[in-house]
């Protein structure tokens, strides 16, 4: 596998991946999601923060297509604006896990020895830690806020990236071109950055798309437990929490944000599956 061969693959594979109908649906959903994030103020029928106690708990009607919540706020507008928080969760939570986990995996896998042992023990502790407890403690200690809950989720997912990348690195380390580079006297840093990393990354990208959905759900879960977004922000988890106790009397408050989360998770998963199908040589 030469360098040029590695670089030449992605564009062709990408468009091939999108040929599948499932992938197209996934891409469509993700694009719709991004569109919503960008243009929520233009599409949303009402101000998501405006309270109108007199029309509280109204079922879906033409005036309020997804109903109103207990303060009379329009559910549709809140769901639309909530997309931005989900995007933020993906960027911060998933992004942080990817960045930190990859760095850990690269370091441990390539350097080996004591560094590897230490890093892997840290990963073990993080993995063994009851996940909810870890997230709860991080948020409770830093103070509840959306940013802190995203960081907490990022920490929880970091070990998975670390393990994945380390595994990849261990495989690549022994390959011909790396040994050649070392024989030619290239520095460790150069080897890692120009040879090891690019060849380990495709499964990381796949994992990132698949985890994106999971991160949205988990951050919503923390908001649901009261440790994430502060009122009145329309983060989807907060919307779920708002609607939980009204579930038997005003089902729409919790159901629509739940559906939104489901669709986003579905979209990223379909997309990720398609990418994996293309990038994973074993799945041919």
């Amino acid at each position: 596998m030469s360098e040029t061969a590695v670089l030449a693959r992605p564009p062709a594979a990408f468009s091939a991946a999108l040929g599948q109908p499932a992938a197209r649906i996934g891409l469509g959903i993700v694009l719709l999601f991004l569109f919503l994030c960008a243009f929520a103020p233009l599409i949303a029928p009402y101000n998501p923060y405006e309270q109108n106690l007199m029309s509280a708990l109204a079922p879906p009607t033409l005036a309020h297509p997804l109903g109103t919540d207990q303060y009379g706020r329009d559910v549709a507008s809140r769901v639309f604006y909530g997309a931005r928080y989900a995007l933020l969760a993906i960027i911060v939570g998933d992004g942080m896990a990817l960045a930190v986990g990859t760095a850990m995996g690269l370091a441990g896998g390539y350097l080996g020895g004591a560094a590897d042992a230490v890093i892997m023990r840290v990963v073990d502790v993080l993995l063994a830690f009851p996940y909810l407890l870890l997230a709860l403690i991080i948020v409770a200690a830093l103070g509840p806020s959306l940013l802190h809950s995203m960081i907490a989720i990022g920490v929880v997912y970091t070990p998975q990236y670390a393990r994945l990348v380390r595994g990849q690195v261990l495989g690549v380390r022994q390959s011909d071109f790396v040994r050649a580079a070392r024989a030619l006297g290239a520095s460790t840093r150069r080897i890692v950055l120009r040879h090891v990393a690019p060849n380990s990354l495709s499964p990381v990208i796949v994992m990132a798309t698949l985890q994106a959905g999971a991160v949205v759900v988990e951050t919503a879960g923390l908001s649901f437990l009261g440790l994430g977004a502060q009122p009145p922000s329309p983060d989807w988890g907060a919307l779920l929490a708002d609607g939980q106790n009204y579930f038997l009397t005003a089902w729409w408050i919790a159901t629509f944000p739940g559906l939104a989360i489901f669709l986003v998770v579905l979209g990223f998963n379909l997309l990720g599956d398609a990418l994996r199908h293309e990038f994973d040589p074993r799945a041919r």
């Binding site: 023990r121 063994a128 709860l136 403690i137 409770a140 759900v217 879960g221 159901t255 579905l266």
Partner: protein, 334 residues
């Protein structure tokens, strides 16, 4: 062999130590303490001070941690600051509930997910494939309380088939030697009680199963796809073996390793993450105990619980590694 065991044991202890330190630091970073919470709105400065003294919270932090460590090494995790009962006993009492729920959920997820994953792989790329994988995503993306409440609405309220919560009906009297309701009911020798235990477990287990279902289906499907085209499989087919036999003996066998890995990971996840399910279905499990203990700043219980779950998780993964050795002769030899 002995070396291997010794190093795994050392790893276990290191992880437990790490967990306990992290928990200790984190709990003390949390604002507010158990005395404040116990006395709530009606505290007075004097009663707060007195309660803190009684609970040993006015000692310096290092003293508190070393007392905890010494006790933990002897198996004594202290007394719950809320209930005045031994912390470890509380964890041990709650654990069987969560264990039973988790095992039942995993069993359901495997029983449903593996066949579905095989089917999806066999029909890869068709609408059947998508029709199978999409609903399994439902479980991990819909909030579990929504699923649980829908299940309750349908099976408890509308149909009246299954109970609303708890582990056994109110009037049931039986000894509980293990804490696992099905096992205890069987022990009591009354089939009616076993039936009740199963009925109470069914909905929560099914609801919780939706979480690992997605991973198990996906992994099975993925691994099936990977192995289906391998050389030795083609050879087996070329030899004229029936398709079913090929699937079972060769493809699935290979797929089992990652499936077992996922089960191991999910076990840890579910043991501590089942709190929402336990809340909806009113089960007195470890998830609820831990969350309540954190919110109440009941340090001994949080410590006992975290260390216990971490230990279980590491042991389960150890078991998973042993399974690898059994399933893959290549690993065994190394």
């Amino acid at each position: 062999m002995l070396d291997y065991l010794a190093s795994r044991l050392a790893q276990l202890l290191l992880v437990l130590f790490g967990v306990s330190v992290v928990v200790f630091i984190a709990m003390h970073l949390l604002p507010g303490d158990v005395a404040t919470l116990l006395l709530g709105d009606r505290a007075t400065a004097a009663s707060l001070a007195r309660l803190r003294h009684q609970l040993g919270l006015d000692q310096p932090v290092l003293v508190q941690y070393s007392r905890f460590l010494i006790g933990a090494l002897q198996g004594n995790f202290g007394t719950s600051l809320r209930d005045n009962r031994p912390a470890f006993a509380e964890v041990l009492a709650a654990f069987p509930v969560t264990l039973e729920l988790t095992l039942a959920a995993l069993a359901l997820a495997v029983a449903i997910g593996v066949p579905l994953g095989v089917l999806a792989a066999l029909k890869e790329g068709t609408w059947v494939d998508t029709a199978i994988t999409t609903p399994t995503l439902f479980g991990v993306s819909m909030p579990i309380f929504w699923l649980g409440l829908m299940a309750l609405l349908l099976f408890s309220e509308k149909l009246g088939w299954l109970p609303v919560g708890g582990m056994m009906p109110v009037g049931a009297r039986m000894a509980r030697p293990t804490g696992l309701s099905i096992v205890d009911a069987a022990w009591s020798g009354q089939p009616a009680l076993v039936w009740q235990a199963v009925r109470h477990l069914l909905l929560p287990a099914a609801t919780l199963a939706t979480i690992p279902l997605a991973s198990i289906t996906r992994i099975t499907r993925g691994e099936m796809l990977s192995s289906m085209h391998l050389d030795y499989v083609r050879t087996a087919r070329a030899k004229g073996l029936p398709e079913g036999r090929v699937i079972r003996a060769h493809i699935l066998r290979n797929a089992l390793i990652p499936i077992v890995t996922v089960i191991g990971l999910q076990l840890g996840l579910l043991l501590s993450g089942a709190v929402l399910t336990e809340t909806i279905f009113s089960l007195p499990g470890l998830g609820r105990l831990m969350v309540d203990a954190i919110l109440a700043r009941d340090y001994p219980v949080v410590q006992a619980g975290a260390v216990f779950v971490a230990a279980v998780f590491v042991l389960v993964n150890f078991g998973v590694d042993l399974c690898y050795a059994m399933l893959d002769p290549r690993i065994r030899r190394s």
